[in-house]
């Protein structure tokens, strides 16, 4: 092979340029952003719930990135204001998601803060929404003869609960719900925060 040195240098230079433009510069841009004012870091229990969220594959069907009003009706759906980069300051890695088989969960803690609802819905989504196609996570719960002290007993509406005994949430379910309840990015976005303005047109 001729000119192996210049070829390797050129290949490395192209790689370095791509890394610089696609990784280093955006990384510096994003890391310069402080967390959105009012955004809370996750607690230990919420972080455990976040692990459960990852391991259950929630991210395959649920995004965490409301879009701006010129890209979709996410605001009218109640999913919250358009996401900004600093909303994910405490998320590593981020759980933006790409699919929306289910609703966006960026602000699920703001619009559904109810633990009992979440537990019933995780055990059997059809008990709340008859048409839901979400899988039932009933293995995060156990049926007991009677509840021990400290157990979180779950009531399932529409008679879809177990026929005998009481339904108790396992710690994974409680952690997961704590994580979902913590998802609240409804605080005001600073005017100069980093975000996607791809379609902004000056009409006003």
């Amino acid at each position: 092979m001729n000119r192996i040195l210049p070829l390797s240098i050129l290949a490395l230079a192209i790689l370095a340029l791509a890394t610089l433009m696609l990784v280093v510069v955006p990384g510096m841009q994003i890391n310069a952003q402080p967390a959105t004012p009012g955004l809370q870091p996750y607690t230990a229990i919420q972080l455990r719930g976040r692990q459960t969220y990852v391991s259950m594959g929630c991210v395959y069907c649920h995004s965490q990135q409301p879009r701006s009003t010129d890209q979709g009706p996410d605001g009218e759906r109640g999913w919250g204001r358009p996401a900004i980069a600093s909303d994910y300051a405490y998320d590593s890695p981020h759980l933006l998601g790409t699919m929306r088989t289910g609703p966006d969960l960026s602000n699920i803690g703001a619009r559904l803060p109810n633990q009992a609802w979440h537990l019933a819905h995780l055990y059997q989504p059809r008990s709340v929404s008859a048409w839901s196609i979400m899988p039932a996570y009933s293995f995060l719960f156990e049926v007991k003869e009677r509840a021990a002290p400290g157990d979180v007993v779950v009531r399932i509406p529409n008679g879809r609960g177990p026929k005998h005994g009481v339904l108790v949430a396992k710690p994974e379910a409680i952690d997961l719900v704590a994580y979902l309840q913590s998802l609240d990015r409804t605080m005001v976005a600073p005017a100069h925060a980093e975000r996607d303005d791809g379609y902004a047109k000056s009409e006003r």
């Binding site: 001729n2 009012g38 701006s68 009003t69 009706p73 605001g75 009218e76 759906r77 109640g78 919250g80 204001r81 602000n107 703001a110 619009r111 559904l112 803060p113 109810n114 633990q115 009992a116 609802w117 709340v128 929404s129 008859a130 009531r155 509406p157 529409n158 609240d184 409804t186 605080m187 005001v188 005017a191 100069h192 975000r195 303005d197 791809g198 379609y199 902004a200 047109k201 000056s202 006003r204």
Partner: protein, 407 residues
């Protein structure tokens, strides 16, 4: 002629030096130019977005410059009428009202805290339901509108913004004035005799209802677990505080029967008896909670104000206020209050009317209205309604739980 090539063993294949074809160069140059243009466009979009947000982040100056008369027309005339005549039996007249002729602090305190109780103006007793404008108008705006009404129908002494600021600091924690008698007793004893105040709405709550609302029962989750401890609502969960009792129980019945669709509310409503639906309605109708709504859908507030006040007959849209009452305060029993409602809920409901998901409107009136509203109109009117003060005014101005309380 000798063959200069090396033998086959030593031969290393190579390509003859051929220049890049001209069309390829042109394509490469064109792509590079396209890239530069896209970068420029994107940069422009970012700049425009930032400047618009910075502009929007500045305090709304919609009413400033129009002076007291402009503020009066936008904020007061929908109830008190442009000529100050009021509405017989419903809204007290301003013309020749003793409250405007009284000490200057009386009108300022009424504007700051609102009224929630019986009041006598002239020979008539009114069931006072005035909102508080403390959160939506600045000291200067309040001074201008107070001067406007007092010069027109009361005393001529001028009120300054500093005076309003002093009055604002005087009762920082209080809520609405409980009718004319409390105003007379606290601010100006020279006012004509006033009817007895209404008993405190918070005292007569049945503990069983409070338990149902705060803790739920059976299949019904607690109302407060989503609608908030004071019925303030959040995101697309509606504010319930102060809505007509009959409206709330009718909606619960509609959820139970399926004529209004919402999965969670259907579960809750089916678990409630008719009697429980009515008591829950009464409970929320009696709550007095400050507004936690703020515009959040990037709607055009001026367009929203036009839709709410005048409608858009070119597109067959009546004014919201023509049915939902002046300033969107609601008309019991059928028309819910729109003022201070969360914009995501309002816009979501309008979209649901349009999609015929929501059918609980008499004669499908709301379906027809929603069909005439575009996406940006829905956002505009929902955002505008979120800027209005709630009626009845809050009893206490304490902040409501929720990290996103605005203003």
């Amino acid at each position: 002629m000798t063959d200069l090539r090396p033998s086959d063993d030593e031969f290393e294949p190579y390509e003859e030096d051929r220049g890049i074809p001209l069309p390829v160069s042109w394509i490469a140059i064109a792509l590079a130019l396209w890239g530069i243009v896209m970068l420029y466009h994107n940069n422009r979009s970012v700049m425009i977005g930032r400047s618009e947000r910075s502009e929007a982040a500045k305090p709304q100056s919609r009413d400033v410059g129009a002076g007291g008369a402009g503020i009066f027309l936008a904020r007061c005339a929908t109830c008190h009428q442009p000529n100050g005549s009021g509405v017989a039996g419903a809204v007290p007249p301003l013309a020749s009202s003793p409250f405007l002729k009284a000490k200057p602090e009386v009108v300022v305190q009424i504007l700051l805290h609102g009224i929630d109780g019986p009041i006598r103006v002239g020979d008539d007793v009114f069931d006072g339901h005035m909102p508080s404008f403390a959160s939506v108008l600045s000291d200067d705006d309040l001074a201008q509108v107070a001067n406007h009404v007092r010069k027109g129908w009361g005393a001529s002494q001028t009120i300054s913004a500093a005076f309003v600021a002093g009055q604002r600091a005087r009762f920082p924690d209080r809520g609405a004035w409980n009718g004319g008698s409390e105003i007379a007793a606290t601010l100006d004893p020279t006012l004509p005799p006033q009817p007895a105040p209404r008993p405190d709405a918070g005292t007569g709550i049945d503990p069983a209802v409070a338990g149902l609302v705060q803790h739920g029962s059976g299949d019904a989750w607690a109302c407060a677990s989503c609608h908030g401890s004071q019925g303030q609502g959040r995101a697309n969960v509606p504010r319930l505080a102060g809505l007509p009792a009959a409206y709330i129980s009718a909606q619960l019945a509609a959820f139970a029967s399926g004529s209004r669709r919402d999965d969670t509310m259907t579960v809750v409503a089916r678990a409630l008896s008719q009697n429980q639906r009515e008591t829950v309605g009464n409970y929320y109708a009696g709550l007095r909670t400050p507004s936690t709504a703020r515009p959040s859908l990037d709607g055009d507030l001026e367009r929203g104000e036009i839709l709410a006040l005048q409608g858009d007959w070119k597109h067959g849209v009546p004014a919201c206020f023509s049915c939902h009452g002046p300033s969107g305060f609601g008309v019991a029993p059928g028309f819910p209050a729109l003022a201070a409602q969360h914009p995501a809920y309002t816009a979501d409901q309008l979209a649901a009317w349009r999609g015929k998901v929501h059918r609980a409107s008499p004669n499908d009136v709301m379906n027809m209205v929603a069909n005439s509203l575009s996406d940006s109109d829905r956002r505009a009117v929902a955002d505008f309604l979120a800027t209005l003060p709630p009626v009845p005014a809050a009893h206490r101005q304490e902040p409501v739980h929720g990290r996103s309380v605005a203003r």
